[in-house]
Structures are given as C-alpha cells and as structure tokens.
C-alpha cells in the first residue's frame, strides 16, 4: 500500500499544463500504441502461415511486458534526473509521476507517451528472429532489453544525457528507436542463428494484404510518433506531421521505380517496405527540416535500404524481415541527413548544408554510440538468457511451425477433425455429442 501513497497527494492542475497540448498528446499516445498491433500485421503477413500467430504475438505481448517494465523501472532510468549515461531512480514505480506539469503536459501523460515508444522499439527486434525463437526467452529478452538498453539510450538523447549535451539531433527517435532496435536485431539474428531451412528453400510471405494493412496502420500511427514528439500542439508538430506525410511519399515513389528498374514490376511488398523505410528515415529529422528537404530526404533514403535488402537476401545473415536494412540503414540515413538538412529557421540548428558541417559529426557519433551499446548489451543479455534456457525450439517444432507448439492454435484452421473436449464434471449421464475416435487399429491410417 505504501507504494500507492505517493499518488495520493492533492493535485492542482498547475497553470503550466496546457489543455491544447494535453488534448493532442492524448491522441498521439493512442496513435503510437496502435503502431505495435500494426507491426504485428506487417510482420505477420511476411512470415509463413504456420508462424503467423507467434509472429503477431511477439509484437502484441510487448505491450504487456515492456509497458509494465517501463512504468515500474524503465521510465525512471530514462527520464528521472540523473547523470550523462543513465537517469536516476527518483521515478521508480512511478514515484512523483502525477498530474503536475512536465513541460506543458501532465507528467503521467508524458510517461504514457514515452511508454508507447519503448513498446514499439522492443517489438521491432522480433523481425530478425521470427519463426525460430521460443516465446518465453524472447519475452524475457525484450523486457530486459527495454530496461537495460532502451531506457539509457533514451536518456542520452531525450533525458538530458550526453548526446543531448553534445548537440546530436534526434527529433522522434531515428537513433533511440530505429538504430537502437536494429543493432539489437542484428545481434539477435546472429546469436539465435538462421532458420533451419534458410537458404535451402524459399520462405515466402503468406499474406501480402496483411503486410500492406500493417504498413498503412504504421503510417497512420507514425503521425503520433513524429508530430507527437513536439510534445505540444504547435507549429513544430505541424511541421513534423507534414514531413511524415511527404518523406515516405518520395521513398515509396523511388522504391517503386527501383522495383520497376530491377524486375520490371512494382511489387506490393516492396511498396509496403518503402513506406516503412521512408517513415524511419524522416523520424530523426521530422521537426528540424523543411518540407522540400523532407521530400529530398525521403527519396534519397530509399537507395541504401533497397541495396541493403538485396545484399542481405544473398547473404548468410537470416535477418528474416530485414530489420537491419529498414530500421538500421534507414535510421542511419535519416540521422545523417538530419545533420545535413536541418535548418534553424525550421526549428532545428543548422546542418551541414546550411553552414554547420560539424552537425554531421555529432549525428554520426550518436548513431555509432547507440549501435555499439545496443549490440554489446544485447549480446550479453541473449548469452545470459541462452545459458538459463534454450533459445531455439526443437527442429520438429520449427518444422511444424511455432503457432501449434507455443500457442496451441492455428491461424487458418478449418475445424475439420476438431473434437470438442468437455470437462468431466460438465458431462450429463449420456455420452458427449462428439465422441473421441477410438484408438486406431493396427494398419489403419
């Protein structure tokens, strides 16, 4: 009970809380949370039918595991006053996080908004290890990762840590979210290892409409992600919002052109991927660059990620859903271009193109630091969990698909051959309607 006491003091809606900002951020928080089920559809469509439920649950369960870890511990490590590397413990168990103003928002709303970021970032990692990691160890990993890796890196950039003091620009999380998750994804793909049939047989997406649906919902939610990162209902939010519309539009166009050049066809999976890459790339820049710069940035961002996907699919690295190419390469491109295209007149500080070439260096340092720390800590966490429990299911389970073993469900069952199991105590005198089949006689099949 004593834990709950700090929440009891009398709140007075401080004058500093802005109703307009609060209204927008309530909506933005809901928008960002929607991105996680959207990711479930995006990833779920890309895997085979026998693993779609497991893949979707890897995103869905992050809302529980990471959301709770964030409220109890992660938020404090990211945003409580602390040092250059990590926040303090003042807000542990949400102590002191109430309705008083944090900026112009109720502190609790700020915490909730940031929680949705932690959730989607951890869920992004799953794309590198789908179809072959056991559900329990996966959940343990992303939960620990959100506390040990995500929270400190968020502190570096947004919580007043060393990258913020250095002057690295990351408006909505190109480095904190995308580069960070991609580095963990790369390490996870290497440690967990490739799917047993990777490189031996084609592993095709089982539901491309799901992929397109997911990409569409991600774009919708991303307006909350980028425009919400202004933390206010103001001009910067409008700029970030518009850039979130424009940049993915050019990435999508260039991606379709690249598809057309390479294979004489524009593919739907390619279009969905292009949208996501564009969204990733504009994330660090959204509130710092002008709208025409956003069009440029989006178009340019398609090139390195497109090349990375082609390279990866010919390599031995089973980053199954291209987290590294889309989020790592896309996030790095966006972070570096932020350092080129940022303009003081649009709310940033001037970038390389506008007379401050050193900004590019700060951007590179930010990307490298987040990637190195995330990779190192993810390696340690996965090795530790791997020592305690096996990360991989048996070959037989991987062959049958993880949906059956891990979740006891099939995504597309016809119900044929399903016999109702009625609990003994609920049985009347007569036999149940669905008699179980007798044990098969010798020779029957």
């Amino acid at each position: 009970m004593s834990l709950l006491l700090p929440l009891a003091p009398t709140w007075s809606l401080a004058a500093a809380v802005s109703p307009a900002d609060t209204a927008w951020m309530l909506v933005a928080t809901a928008l960002v949370l929607l991105m996680t089920p959207a990711l479930a559809f995006f990833y779920g469509g890309l895997v085979r039918a026998k693993n779609v439920l497991n893949t979707m649950m890897m995103s869905v369960a992050a809302m529980a595991a990471v959301g709770i870890a964030w409220a109890l511990v992660g938020y404090s490590l990211a945003f409580a006053p602390g040092g250059a590397l990590v926040g303090g413990l003042d807000h542990l168990f949400l102590r002191g996080v109430g309705l008083d103003a944090k900026g112009t928002l109720p502190h609790l709303l700020f915490m909730a908004y940031q929680a949705t970021f932690a959730i989607i970032t951890a869920a992004l990692i799953s794309g590198a290890v789908v179809e072959r990691i056991r559900f329990g160890p996966y959940l343990a990993f992303i939960t620990a990762w959100s506390v040990v890796v995500y929270a400190p890196v968020a502190h570096w950039v947004w919580g007043g840590g060393w990258l913020a003091k250095l002057g690295a620009l990351d408006f909505a999380g190109g480095t904190v979210v995308h580069v960070n998750a991609a580095a963990a994804a790369l390490v996870a793909a290497l440690i967990v290892g490739p799917r047993r049939d990777y490189g031996r047989q084609a592993q095709l997406p089982h539901n491309i409409p799901f992929v397109v649906l997911g990409a569409g919902l991600l774009w919708f939610g991303w307006f909350g992600f980028n425009a919400g990162s202004a933390l206010a209902a103001n001009g910067i939010a409008a700029l970030a919002f518009t850039n979130t519309l424009l940049a993915p539009a050019t990435t999508l166009l260039v991606w379709m052109l690249l598809d057309q050049l390479r294979s004489k066809r524009t593919t739907a999976v390619g279009a969905a991927t292009g949208v996501v890459v564009g969204l990733v790339a504009i994330t660090p820049a959204a509130g710092y660059i002008g709208p025409l710069s956003a069009l440029l940035l989006g178009g340019f961002a398609a090139l390195p990620s497109y090349a990375a996907i082609l390279l990866r699919s010919r390599s031995a690295l089973d980053d199954s859903l291209d987290v590294v190419a889309a989020h790592g390469i896309g996030g790095t491109t966006g972070a570096l271009l932020t350092g080129v295209l940022a303009q003081a007149v649009w709310g940033g500080t001037d970038g390389a193109l506008f007379g401050a070439p050193r900004q590019l260096l700060w951007q590179a340092i930010g990307v490298a630091a987040a990637a190195l720390y995330s990779a190192g800590a993810s390696f340690a966490l996965l090795k530790l969990i791997g020592k305690l429990v096996p990360l991989r299911p048996a070959a037989r389970v991987e062959g049958m698909g993880l949906d059956l073993q891990e979740h006891g469900e099939e995504a597309y069952t016809t119900g044929e051959g399903a016999i109702l199991v009625i609990p003994e105590e609920a049985l009347p005198e007569r036999a149940p309607a669905g008699l179980p089949l007798p044990a098969p006689a010798e020779g029957a099949f």
Binding site: Q201, E409, T413, G417, A418, I419, V421, L437
Partner: protein, 118 residues
C-alpha cells in the same frame, strides 16, 4: 508400372521433392490432404473452447513410374520424408493397368517416361 502413393508431412515436402528430383523422378502430382496416422492428439484452445485435433495436415503424392524406378522412388521417399516421430506417413505401391499420355496418346512406359525438352 506402378502408381506410388505417398502420404507425408507438409513440412517435409521440400526435402522430398528435392530427393525425388535427384533420383530423376520427374512426373508427380501433389494434393493437400488431412488424415490420422496414430499421432499424439493435439489439444488446441480457442477462447475457452478446447478441442482435440484428430486430423493432421498431410501432403499426398501420386507418382506413376516404370518398374525400374519403383525401388529408387520408394527409397528416395523413405529417406527424405522420415523424421523418426509418429506421423511420418506411408508409402503405397499399387499396380497400374494402363497409363496414357493425353497429349500424344503414348501408352504405358512411354507415357511415364519424362519428355526431354530441347
């Protein structure tokens, strides 16, 4: 001539096709099937409704071969479809009265000999 009917696990289909290809068995038909072969029953739950799945997804292969290919085909099937667990499937070898290739009217051995396209 024989008709070889094999019931296998869907996840072994790729391995089986590869083995058959290496054994130079080219003509075949596959069908998605469901069956029961004494596997341990699977229990699944959907919103509190618990069911036992008595039928398991399988793939059925129908392969018409000339006599010299019977043993080769059976060996390739058995080697590639086996996991060692209950539910690996069955291979049936059936006599065939007559085979006719629709396009050319060739019969029997001629009809099951793969066409070499230049």
């Amino acid at each position: 001539m024989k008709l070889i009917v094999a019931i296998i696990r869907p996840e072994k289909l790729h391995d089986v096709l590869e083995a058959l290809f290496r054994a130079e068995v080219r003509g075949l038909t596959i069908t998605r099937a469901q069956g029961h072969g004494g596997e341990m029953e699977r229990v699944e739950t959907y919103r509190g409704t618990t069911v036992k799945m008595e039928l398991v997804d399988k793939v059925r292969l129908d392969i018409g071969v000339s006599d010299p290919f019977v043993d080769v085909t059976v060996a390739a099937l058995q080697r590639s479809a086996r996991t060692g667990d209950v539910g690996d499937g069955k291979i049936f070898v059936l006599p065939v009265e007559k085979v006719i290739r629709i396009r050319t009217g060739e019969e029997d051995v001629g009809a099951v000999t793969p066409v070499t396209t230049g």
